[in-house]
Amino acid sequence: MMELIEAESGRLLAAITKLLGEKGIVTEDELVSRQALTDAANPGQGARMVARAWLDADYRALMLRDGAAAAEAMGIPMRGLPPLGVLENDAETHHLVVCTLCSCYPRAVLGYPPFWFKSAAYRARAVRDPRGMLGEWGTIVPDSVKLRVVDSTADYRWMVLPLRPAGTEGWDEAQLAAIVRDGDMIGVTVPGV
């Protein structure tokens, strides 16, 4: 076991990749195409979904019903990935996403998580003192708004559909998508103009 832990990661990866191929579990081509999809995923994809949902009530309904179908409708490949649930913020409710167990994150639509998402501090404080932690981001959740912390523990990935900020009346989809950041889509921040 010590030898495995101490193995140089590049060699370990090469050995596992070779074994997967020899056993017919996954081909080199499949690995390359999956890696390309993973590297291509970025918060801009989720932002396009949010912007469209702000403009198109039918799309918004689809997104809240089946996030993966809504992502596919925007050309984001979801095959073989966990279901995507979408949590809608409104005047009464603010959602915050955390994974206290590990690092579940809606990577297909947001890309790699920010470095702090996996930190013990974020994972602990998001469930223990969420309003205090959000305050340090400058995200003030008014007392009149209920906070729902969604601890992503199992087979779903969760993203937040934030409230469309005032001052964006008449904006088109590209303009709206440009103001939506990754933090807005897990509820640590809210979009603003």
């Binding site: 209920k146 523990t153 199992a154």
Partner: protein, 92 residues
Amino acid sequence: MLQPGTPVQVKLDWPETRGPCHIRTPHYLRGRMGVVERHLGDFPNPEDLAFARPAARLPLYHVRFDQPALWGEGYAGDAIVVELYESWLEAR
């Protein structure tokens, strides 16, 4: 199948004290009372999948917990919502 609105208690169980295991039920919820929000679907039990054992499909629920009650502090009305498998829940 547990219906939305059903009060449930998370089992007060610590399999990690009995040997190697893989658990998706956060420790801070063991033994706590919550309410089923909705059934999210059925998924192969990750506690078996992690060890390459045959895995039965289990109902998975979104369960809501009163956040201040978990910690003895916080804002009334705030909630924590967590995915939990039926095998960890007892209707109360």
